[in-house]
């Protein structure tokens, strides 16, 4: 869909692509097959391909004559891209690369004709040292030597074709190198970062359908002489689903809008945040919907259990949620660190004025101050109905900033190893982004006069309040000696468990005599 029009595609912008995703997302297998074909399979050619490559491959790919697949994962390297073992060696006449290796869990592997394969090539550096770097190739099935295994038996998205692909002495012409030799890593990163945000709208579309189906059931089924919809716990579940769908949509379309701006804005963190949030909420909400249906939700006659299995993969593919959390936190910290480097250096040197400034700020913070960043008030950016939530957001942002400074001061470069802290930072970031998206969407819908805007205001306020208190708790967990910080204990427990690779407590029935 995002193939430019001159090559026969629709040339959709990111926002329209997200909107299409909403419709496609009603069925997991279809969505995944389509996404594997166009969001990652042929994105490489669009982003990094030369004109000849585009003209050669895109028309047939856009029409659907050929299907594309993205081959990066190997049996021994899932998230760890640099350890792939597929090798591409240059032939003697320098016209071909010989590709050898096998890739696993490739969606569309059995159907695809065109593969974007990542392999290690030997690259001669400028200092004439030979290194192994990853290169991206466009490989057609007709080049010979491409075989695929049988389709895998998966838990969910069983409609899509996932299989192993083996390359045995496949001859790839030199013209088919995507980007430059040795630049495969960047190509892979760009491809993966560009397709992530649509997951938010795909999941939102699915959740909306889910809410309809489940509400139909809840309003007609009667237990204890009352409709299910009159019980508080069920109402809570619906409110949760509605709220999460709203936040997901807002975040996805905000990111899509940002990406559609002229120039090539780098919205990779935002896209990653959308992916993490939407995949986790999808799992939670589908699980709750199944719970509302009770026993019939568990039966295979209803689609709920299929949707549950389909949504489980969302947390894993396109970058596992844990990896993405690290990415979000680290990229953010790097950005913050660059700005704060100057100040931290001065502090370390003991510049008197900076020290006094820092201490006075800390004192003022500890007493408690009201933060005003211009969101609320007469000239504020948000509508007065959501002014409370906006002030909560401002407060969170300010205290988060202070905490990040402290963290960088404490850890510096070694924060890369402190995954539990990074996870908390990422969680706060996701909440803050969600709050921003939701507040801006609610203000706009009141100002423009969209229908049911008071409902949106309700959802926005609920989400912001919840996120605010979660953020406060997480921020307190990030302090070193706070009682909420259980990192050390957790580390000790996991050490002891993993040492013995078993559960080490004594059985409750054991006796000493």
């Amino acid at each position: 869909m995002q193939v430019p029009e001159e090559y026969g595609g629709l040339g959709l912008s990111n926002t329209l692509y997200a909107r299409m995703g909403e419709i496609v997302g009603l069925d997991g297998s279809i969505a995944v097959t389509l996404a594997a074909h166009q969001a990652i399979g042929l994105k490489g050619i669009i982003l990094a391909g030369s004109k000849e490559q585009k003209a050669k491959y895109l028309p047939r790919l856009a029409s659907g004559e050929h299907i594309a697949a993205f081959c990066l994962t190997e049996p021994s390297s899932g998230s760890d891209v640099a350890s792939i073992k597929t090798r591409a060696t240059l032939s003697e006449d320098k016209k071909y690369y010989i590709l050898n290796g096998s890739k696993v869990w490739i969606t569309n592997g059995g159907l695809a004709n065109i593969f974007t394969v990542f392999a290690k090539t030997q690259v001669v550096d400028s200092e004439s040292s030979v290194k192994d770097k990853i290169t991206a190739f466009i490989v057609e099935r007709d080049f010979g030597g491409v075989t695929n295994g049988k389709p895998e038996d998966k838990l969910g998205i069983r409609g899509s074709n996932t299989c192993e692909v083996h390359f045995e002495n496949t001859r790839v012409p030199v013209e088919n190198v995507l980007g430059e030799v040795g630049g495969g890593f960047k190509v892979a990163m760009n491809i993966l970062n560009s397709g992530r945000f649509s997951m938010g709208s795909v999941v939102a579309g699915m959740l909306k359908k889910l809410i309809e189906m489940t509400a139909e059931y809840a309003c007609t089924r009667k237990q204890f002489n009352k409709n299910l919809s009159e019980f508080g716990l069920i109402q809570e579940k619906f409110a949760l689903m509605a709220q999460k769908a709203y936040v997901m949509e807002s975040m996805a379309y905000l990111t899509a809008g940002m990406l559609d701006r002229p120039g090539f804005p780098d919205c990779s963190i935002e896209a990653a945040m959308v992916k993490v949030f939407s995949s986790e909420c999808a799992w939670q909400c589908v699980s709750e919907a199944l719970q509302i249906l009770g026993g019939s939700g568990y039966m295979r006659d209803y689609p709920y259990e299929r949707m549950l299995r389909d949504t489980r993969i969302l947390l894993i593919f396109e970058g596992t949620n844990e990896i993405l959390r690290m990415y979000i936190a680290l990229t953010g910290l790097q950005h913050a660190g660059r700005i704060l480097t100057a100040r931290i250096n001065e502090l370390k040197r003991g510049n008197v004025s900076t020290v006094i400034e820092t201490i006075s700020q800390k004192l003022r913070d500890s007493v408690g101050r009201t933060v005003n960043m211009g969101l609320t008030g007469k000239l504020g950016a948000v509508h007065p109905s959501v002014a409370d939530s906006a002030s909560k957001l401002e407060e969170n942002v300010y205290y988060f900033g202070r905490t990040v400074e402290t963290l960088l001061l404490r850890f510096g470069k070694t924060i890369v190893e402190e995954q539990m802290i990074l996870k908390r930072v990422a969680n706060i970031l996701i909440n803050l982004y969600g709050m921003t998206a939701v507040l801006s969407r609610a203000s706009r819908s009141i100002r423009v006069g969209l229908p049911n805007h008071d409902h949106e205001v309700l959802l926005a306020n609920i989400y912001c309040a919840e996120a605010y208190y979660q953020n406060l708790f997480t921020l307190s967990q990030l302090d070193k000696y706070s009682p909420e910080n259980l990192d050390e204990q957790i580390k000790k427990v996991s050490e002891q468990v993993l040492e013995k690779r078993a559960y080490i407590c004594a059985h409750p029935l054991e006796r000493t005599s």
Partner: protein
Amino acid sequence: MSWAQAILLARGLSRGCGGICGATVTGAPFSQVSLQAPRGLHCSAATHSSDSWLVPPPPKPPRGPTRALAPHEELFRRAPDGAQDKANFVRAVQTFGQHNVHKRGHVDFIYLALRKMREYGVERDLAVYNLLLDVFPKEVFRPRSIFQRIFIHYPRQQECGIAVLEQMENHGVMPNKETEFLLIQIFGRKSYPMLKFVRMKLWFSRFKNINPFPLPRDLPQDPVDLAKLGLRHMEPNLSARVTIYQTPSARDSTGAADATESHIVGIQTPDQQAALAHHNPARPIFVEGPFSLWLRDKCVYYHILRADLLPPEEREAEEIPEEWNLYYPMQLDLDYGRSGWDDYEFDIHKVEEGPVFAICVAGAHDQATLARWIQGLQETNPGLAQIPVVFRLAGSTGELLATSSGLEEPPPPPPEGQEEEENNQQRQQQGQS
């Protein structure tokens, strides 16, 4: 001017023939002019008396510009083929433009056209409004100097422009870019019509969805569809079922308005069905109506089937069976109830009234039609056969018939009927006040 005068003279001369160039231009609308030949051109004021005075009445004295008023009125005469639709209206407006290069009397013509829009059914059409604005001569009324800007330049024309926009506003038509361009061309950017246009653009988009109970813009013409829409409006519960008990049969071509079968459409939710099943057959239920429901500009009359509240003595408390829920106790064994803080039961806005069992919209408001409705209801509510039904119709006949459709119960005695009549009158007054 002389060209127009010549046309008018020629028209006056050859009234009977109807073969002038002017007549050929306007074609059919002029054919009825011949009937008014003796009146002459100057006594056109008399024809306006029947028009509603939404806009200021056109000036009467036969001075220069208003001499063209009669042709304007004639432009809107009903064509012999009688179709009052957009094409004829557009043609009439365009004819005015063709008459007269200087467009004399355009202000009056526009007011007249605004009045005639409703007859032609084009009051919600934006293109027609744009066409009407097009009648104004362009570039003439724009202020050119600061003095002209201070004082309202060409006030009559600006008022006329505002009147056009006001009619657009009243009918809920949203102006578009073409309107903006026309207004700028005609009045300039700082004029009052432009100000009104800017305000309309801002507030209309904000208020478009402000109705919490929105209705579609084009209401269905078919009475059955309109009835369904009205019923769904009143009972938005999605589990309610709409049943068409009777559709209007095709009228005879002989024109005998013997509407023996008018439509009956009813609605009932499963909760109402259950309540009706539980209703004590000793107490009567009442068919009341007709009450009016306005949907935009259409009125739909509906009847309800309701019962009175049980007096507190007869109300049975809900019994919670002892062993109901396997998992948790539905009733705790404590002696005290809700404390004052959490007591939300009394709501000053909610007045307890008797249960309503079903609503229906019928074409005719007499008892026979409603009895047909009750019969139809009996199919889904078998218990209804045992319950006496009293018809309290505030209809034009003023009849009060106390009959029972169950036919097993004897009708209630007359003194009770008189009380009911008084009750009925009170209810009528309450219902209609």
